[in-house]
């Protein structure tokens, strides 16, 4: 090794340089990596989602949507609220498979183009988005404009007779559907789910599991009513 002392495989100057650089690198990584993980952590975090009561069977019909204010993120006031359009399942119209999660059809008001709030226009039986003209039919399927998939839905649950919470409609987490109304884990607006869409836009690491129906939150007891 030129420049090195006899029997040494590296010059002392080069060895010192390497040591200093590694020490600096380790020191920088010691604060840099935790800080980076801290910043990107939410990507991997599983968000809890509780069942919430949205009404009683008397609130909903088969041929019109009721507007319900729901909580998407608790504890942040208005910014955490959203709107769901809810109706009773109508077997004549709703041809997708029936199970215990869709006795009531709850559509998200979030437009599947870029996330603006759609409103239900009863006279036209259409959902219309104010931002870029997206239109959805009565079942929430795309009827026109730029949206890439039907409106997202929420799981709904009706506790059977004798179970806690009976007589109320519960709304659970959101899920996404493709144009066949097949269920997918919740995606963000603008991400198509037909064809290769579901592979181009993978589900997030933190896909929420459907919360258990064992511990449904019970409605607040009204003083003087029932027991």
């Amino acid at each position: 090794m030129p420049g090195a002392f006899e029997g040494e495989t590296v010059t002392r100057r080069r060895f010192m340089t390497a040591v200093t650089h590694s020490a600096g690198g380790i020191a920088a990584a010691a604060f840099g990596l935790p800080a980076l993980g801290f910043a990107i952590g939410p990507i991997f975090k599983r968000q809890p989602f509780e069942w919430q009561i949205i009404g009683t069977p008397a609130d909903f019909t088969e041929d019109n949507y009721a507007t319900k204010v729901i909580t998407i993120v608790a504890g942040i006031g208005e910014a955490g609220k959203s709107i769901a359009y809810v109706r009773k399942r109508n077997p004549q119209i709703d041809t997708e498979p029936h199970d215990q999660w869709n006795n009531y059809i709850a559509l998200s008001s979030r437009c599947m183009h870029l996330g603006c709030p759609v409103r239900y226009v009863e006279a036209a039986a259409r959902f219309v988005c104010p931002c870029h003209g997206g239109v959805y039919n009565f079942r929430g399927e795309v009827a026109g404009g730029p949206p890439v998939r039907p409106l997202d839905r929420f799981y709904t649950y009706v506790p059977p007779v004798g179970h806690p919470g009976h007589g109320y409609i519960y709304l659970g987490p959101r899920y996404s559907v493709n144009s066949e109304l097949e269920r997918f884990s919740p995606r963000d607006p603008g991400e198509p789910l037909d064809g290769i869409g579901q592979y181009l836009y993978p589900s997030r690491f933190d896909t929420p599991v459907r919360p258990s129906i064992a511990n449904l939150p019970l409605p607040p007891t009204v003083p003087g009513v029932g027991s």
Binding site: P42, Q47, I72, A79, C131, D188, Y201, R204, D206
Partner: protein, 262 residues
């Protein structure tokens, strides 16, 4: 009433004695001494001379000031932004909107400073594109100034990111929905999009930390990077010199033009 002693013209010095200094002169002298003291230890004046008194080509015009104008727009944003931060509260539960309302309605000059920041943002974008147009149409991005151009493009992107993150901070309906749409546009990038969206929002939904996240990115992360890159941009401008306007004919040095006799 006699003049105070300080303001009186000093009496003529006795022969052989140095003339006593007038107080104004003495003050100026003290200032020069302080500056000299600092400069002797830092040699900053060399750098200033290198930057401010450099040679520029013939034929430059007002279009060459657009870069400086952009920098002053940035400084305006930095200064007004720092002071807005003294009154702003990134509270997603109504506090952010309320603090902006307080700035606009109650704080002395609040509406003015907020307006400077808000309109200054648009002015900065306009100036950047005019500056970029000047550089492009004058061909000033060519060798050896490519790196200056690339850094400029990064600065443009960072400025747009500042616009995006700053737009949420007033936290009114327009801010909220513009951010929802903006984040969802990011989501539409294949493969990485959903993760970018989660990073921006701090979770799968617009939540409690989205606003503070945008606030931190807006007032600390990006401005720091931008200030460093602007410094590097200016260093390159000074180091490489500015290019002559394209209509100016390059003159060969006379020595080259000499006819060689065969």
């Amino acid at each position: 009433m006699p003049l105070p002693k300080l303001l009186k013209r000093p009496a003529a010095p006795a022969p052989g004695e140095p003339a006593p200094m007038h107080p104004v002169e003495a003050a100026a002298e003290a200032g020069i001494t302080v500056v000299d003291w600092i400069d002797e230890r830092t040699q900053l004046s060399q750098g200033l001379r290198w930057m401010m008194f450099r040679k520029v080509p013939k034929g430059i015009n007002w279009a060459y000031t657009l870069g400086s104008a952009t920098m002053f727009a940035f400084l305006n944003q930095a200064v007004t932004g720092v002071f807005l931060a003294m009154y702003y509260r990134p509270d997603v539960n109504g506090g952010a909107y309320e603090s902006i309302r307080n700035i606009n309605d109650n704080v002395f000059l609040g509406q003015f400073v907020h307006g400077m920041h808000k309109w200054g943002a648009s002015v900065m974008i306009v100036l950047i594109f005019l500056h970029m147009g000047r550089v492009f149409f004058f061909g000033a991005y060519k060798y050896p100034r490519e790196l200056t151009w690339i850094i400029g493009v990064v600065l443009l992107i960072l400025t747009l990111a500042m616009g995006f993150t700053g737009y949420l901070l007033p936290f009114d309906q327009r801010s909220y929905w513009a951010t929802i749409v903006g984040v969802n546009i990011n989501n539409t990038a294949p493969f990485l999009g959903p993760y970018i969206g989660d990073f921006l929002r701090g979770g799968p939904e617009f939540g409690a930390t989205t606003l503070s996240r945008f606030y931190a990115i807006h007032m600390m992360l990006i401005p720091g990077i931008m200030a460093a890159l602007i410094g590097f941009h200016l260093y390159l401008v000074t180091k490489l010199g500015i290019s002559a306007p394209p209509w100016l004919k390059a003159h060969e040095p006379e020595a080259v033009q000499e006819v060689v006799e065969v």
